[in-house]
């Protein structure tokens, strides 16, 4: 990998534009330069809308009309792209440039076997015979580490796990010996343990086959784990670019510094994440009002148990009207307590049953066994109005959590009026306004509809709505996993502030260990429907007892751990 090696990708002054309906032009990518040498992994990071995916699409000729390359040059393996057509003479996407997309669930065609999808590219691009193609497919399956490759070739995508599917996608990308692979968020949809394996696979491919990789991601941990160089983008422009360690440990540009600081660290617990605070006087006043109004829940000591879950079990299926269906045990005997004013974390990989636990406590799912005691009342079946009022929830996807046909004011005022916490509609609207201010939104936000807001703002609105009925327990189901890191940091700070309001207890569910460490007082680690370890957050992170916890902590990509290790070894 010397300086004289011809780069596999050389982008100069690339500019991508989208003409808008009103005659303006949206510049998605502004004059970026990027070079990737053989065997190099170059990460392109930035928040949503930064233009990082657009760069990947531009060099693959996948720009959606009317988007077009307005200026600059893209040279792939020494061949220049034709700006007018967006394609490169002599470069065939799929043969010379391989692609790995984000969602392994949808990037394979469900109607064809793994073998036919793997061989398709080889048959058309490399003109191999079907026997040769099959032999090569088998070789690729072995190379990407799929167990029982002969049998798996005949499988359909739905018969494979998410990690195996992503391996097949990578095998497809490799099929025609490309010199360059564009990997767009290749591990975002995967669990940490699978993510670690896939990242190692990509690193090995770059090292052993000399493939250049453009890695588009928003995850700084992933960047730290495998990238050689990193380019940080903001609003379509490059903010900072350089060797990974240099950029991550000593960022120069202010935006790069904020972005890196907003990543919650897994190794230490910070009082607040270092992002610009939105605490104006209006916000503080509004919070004081909220605190005064919800004075009732301040009774009771801090150690009092608010929620007590004992041997909770939840099963899905089993009872059809006319036929028996198979039973799936989502939760198998889970027990924990949540104390007043505490943030209790539930962490685990996808499918471990943590969301089912939340849904059961919220009353969206009925338990098949076990008990849930909330403020001294056993929950199950029909719930008292006062119980439902005290137990509120914030959901994962801010884009579907708000009714698109309701104005924000109406959405927030609805539960306030329903629980008669305001005597008339005017008072409810004033309360809604106060709540909006308390979560850091302007009071006039209430007159608009949900679509006028960004994901982070919508999540704030959802929080305001959940606070309306003055709950004593707030269930947060992955409240920040759909958001950018800087927005996530602001929301985590907000949730911490709100907890201090009136001794609100929280059940906080996340798959992200770093977020859990920042937020929670105590944590339970779930695996396959069971709690494997329950401890104080600090104890759990510094001295994990269970093997699974240790594995999760070891595999979670973390900037400071990797960088720290490198610094120590240097």
């Amino acid at each position: 990998m010397t300086e004289t090696t011809r780069p596999v990708l050389d982008i100069r002054n690339l500019r991508v534009e989208y003409p808008l309906a009103n005659g303006d032009t949206l510049v998605a990518v502004k004059d970026i330069d990027l070079t990737i040498r053989p065997g190099e992994i170059h990460a392109l990071v930035g928040e949503s809308g930064a233009g990082k995916t657009t760069v990947g699409n531009a060099l693959m000729g996948l720009l959606q009309a009317p988007g077009k390359i307005a200026a600059g040059s893209i040279v792939i393996a020494g061949k220049e792209i034709n700006l007018r057509t967006g394609r490169t003479e002599g470069i065939v996407p799929g043969r010379d440039v391989g692609a790995i997309f984000q969602d392994p669930m949808t990037s394979l065609n469900p109607l064809f076997t793994v073998e036919s999808q793997l061989c398709e590219g080889m048959l058309t691009h490399l003109k191999l015979s079907s026997r040769e193609a099959k032999a090569r497919a088998l070789e690729l399956m072995k190379a990407v580490g799929i167990p029982e490759p002969e049998r798996r070739l005949g499988s359909y995508p739905h018969q494979l796990s998410g990690g195996q599917r992503q391996r097949v996608v990578i095998a497809t990308a490799l099929a025609c010996n490309p010199q360059l692979i564009v990997a767009d968020e290749p591990t975002t949809a995967l669990d940490v343990s699978v993510q670690a394996q896939i990242l190692k696979l990509i690193r090995d491919l770059a090292d052993q086959r000399g493939v250049g990789v453009l890695l588009v991601t928003h995850n700084m941990g992933v960047v730290a784990e495998i990238a050689d160089r990193v380019t940080i983008m903001q609003n379509g422009a490059v903010v900072e670019s350089g060797p990974t360690r240099e950029v991550l440990t000593a960022p120069k540009a202010p935006y790069a510094r904020t972005l890196i600081a907003a990543v919650p660290p897994i190794d230490t617990r910070l009082e607040r994440l270092p992002v610009p605070s939105e605490e104006t006087k209006v916000t503080l006043d509004a919070r004081a009002t909220v605190r005064r109004k919800s004075a009732k829940s301040e009774t009771g000591s801090r150690d009092e148990v608010v929620l007590s879950v004992r041997d909770l079990a939840v099963e899905y299926g089993g009872r059809g009207l006319l036929r028996k269906t198979s039973v799936f045990k989502a939760v198998k005997g889970v027990s924990f307590d949540v104390r007043r004013g505490e943030i209790f974390g539930l962490v685990g990989e996808s499918g471990c049953g943590k969301t089912t636990v939340a849904n059961t406590i919220a009353g969206l799912v009925t338990q098949s066994a076990g008990s849930i005691d909330f403020e001294g009342t056993a929950l199950g079946g029909r719930r008292e109005k006062s119980i439902r009022q005290s137990l509120q929830m914030v959901f994962q996807d801010p884009y579907s959590a708000l009714n698109p046909r309701l104005r924000i004011n109406a959405a927030i005022a609805e539960p306030i009026l329903f629980y008669k916490l305001a005597s008339n509609a005017d008072e409810a609207r004033r309360d809604a306004k106060t709540l909006l201010e308390a979560v850091g939104l302007p009071a006039d936000a209430g007159a608009r509809f949900a679509h006028a807001f960004s994901g982070g703002q919508r999540q704030r609105i959802a929080i305001a709505r959940a606070l309306g009925p003055r709950p004593s327990l707030l269930i947060c189901d992955e409240p920040t996993s759909a958001l950018d890191v800087s927005v996530q940091a602001q929301l985590l700070n907000l949730l911490k502030d709100l907890r201090d309001l009136a001794g609100l207890s929280m059940l906080f569910i996340s798959h992200d260990l770093a977020v859990i460490r920042q937020m929670c007082d105590r944590v339970a680690v779930m695996k396959a429907g069971e709690i494997v370890e329950l401890a104080d957050t600090e104890t759990l992170f510094t001295a994990p007892k269970h093997e699974y916890t240790r594995e999760l902590l070891r595999l979670a990509p973390s900037v400071e751990r990797i960088m720290g290790r490198e610094l120590a070894s240097a």
Partner: protein, 298 residues
């Protein structure tokens, strides 16, 4: 560029024309008693002396009767206007009746699921397994046998509305049920449940407004169907009586004279019916494309 973006927002020319035609027809229908030269329901206002006069633009035409007269001497313009009125009222009535019934049952089935869903949808399956025309013929036959002639005159439109709607509601119920099932899985409905709102309120205030666009599309497309079904029933003699004719009844009357040279008695109301149904269909298709959730941005 500004005009271009304006053009993009405007619907295609065919839809504009169809809307204009529909508006004109609605105005004619609403003000029919004021516009029509005579009242076809009033036996005293026409005379057998004027029977079978060809349209005014033909040889032997009479300037009093723009489109000619029928076999009883009634002015065709007037009969068509009143006939159009009846057709539109029955069509709209059937659509509204079917939509309300279908939306309510579909919402309940989709929201509660399980046994409720099974019962409602099996009933729907039974209803839809009989052809609309057959059921309508049956119902109007029973009504005819049970009601006296005068009562039948007053009740005929209601009987028609009922017999058409009783089959059409299934379509609404099925679509609304499917849309409801999609919506209840979304977080805003789950949030409403966690907030503790009662089911009726969640259905009415949260789910219904979000699925209404698909209901509107079916309603428009069904309106054309309902008008045609009414015309078919009246043409078969199971619908509106000749003394109070809808467009279908007029075509039936005209059909008897079609080959004796008096073509206008059948062709004139038939043309109006075709234009009406075509206009409604064009708008219905446009709405269906326009509200297609796959084309709509989130």
């Amino acid at each position: 560029m500004a005009t271009q973006s304006l053009m993009r927002r405007l619907p295609p020319v065919s839809v504009v024309i169809a809307s204009l035609v529909l508006v004109v027809m609605l105005v004619l229908v609403i003000f029919a008693p004021l516009i029509a030269p005579m009242d076809p329901r009033d036996v005293a206002s026409y005379s057998l002396m004027d029977m079978e006069i060809p349209p005014a633009f033909m040889e032997g035409g009479d300037s009093r009767f723009l489109l000619g007269t029928d076999n009883q001497g009634r002015d065709l313009v007037s009969v068509i206007l009143f006939g159009l009125r009846i057709s539109v009222v029955i069509g709209l009535g059937a659509v509204v009746f079917a939509a309300v019934l279908g939306v309510v049952l579909g919402l309940v089935a989709g929201f509660f699921g399980g046994v409720v869903d099974s019962i409602v949808m099996r009933i729907a399956d039974i209803f839809v397994s009989f052809p609309t025309i057959l059921v309508a013929l049956l119902i109007s036959g029973i009504a005819r046998a049970q009601l006296s002639a005068e009562m039948m005159l007053a009740w005929a439109p209601l009987v028609l509305i009922f017999s058409i709607a009783i089959n059409e509601w299934v379509q609404y119920a099925r679509t609304v049920r499917a849309s409801t099932m999609v919506e209840i899985a979304r977080d805003y409905v789950r949030a409403a449940k966690v907030i503790g709102l009662p089911s009726t309120r969640i259905m009415g205030r949260h789910i219904l407004p979000n699925i209404l666009s698909s209901v509107m599309v079916i309603a428009t497309i069904n309106l054309a169907g309902a008008i045609l079904t009414e015309a078919t029933l009246s043409f078969l003699g199971a619908g509106m009586p000749p003394t109070y004719p809808s467009l279908g009844t007029l075509i039936r009357i005209g059909n008897q004279f079609l080959f004796s040279g008096l073509w206008w008695i059948a062709v004139m109301p038939a043309t109006v019916l075709v234009i009406l149904v075509l206009a409604v269909n064009v708008i219905g298709d446009y709405l269906r494309d326009h509200f297609n959730p796959k084309l709509m941005a989130r």
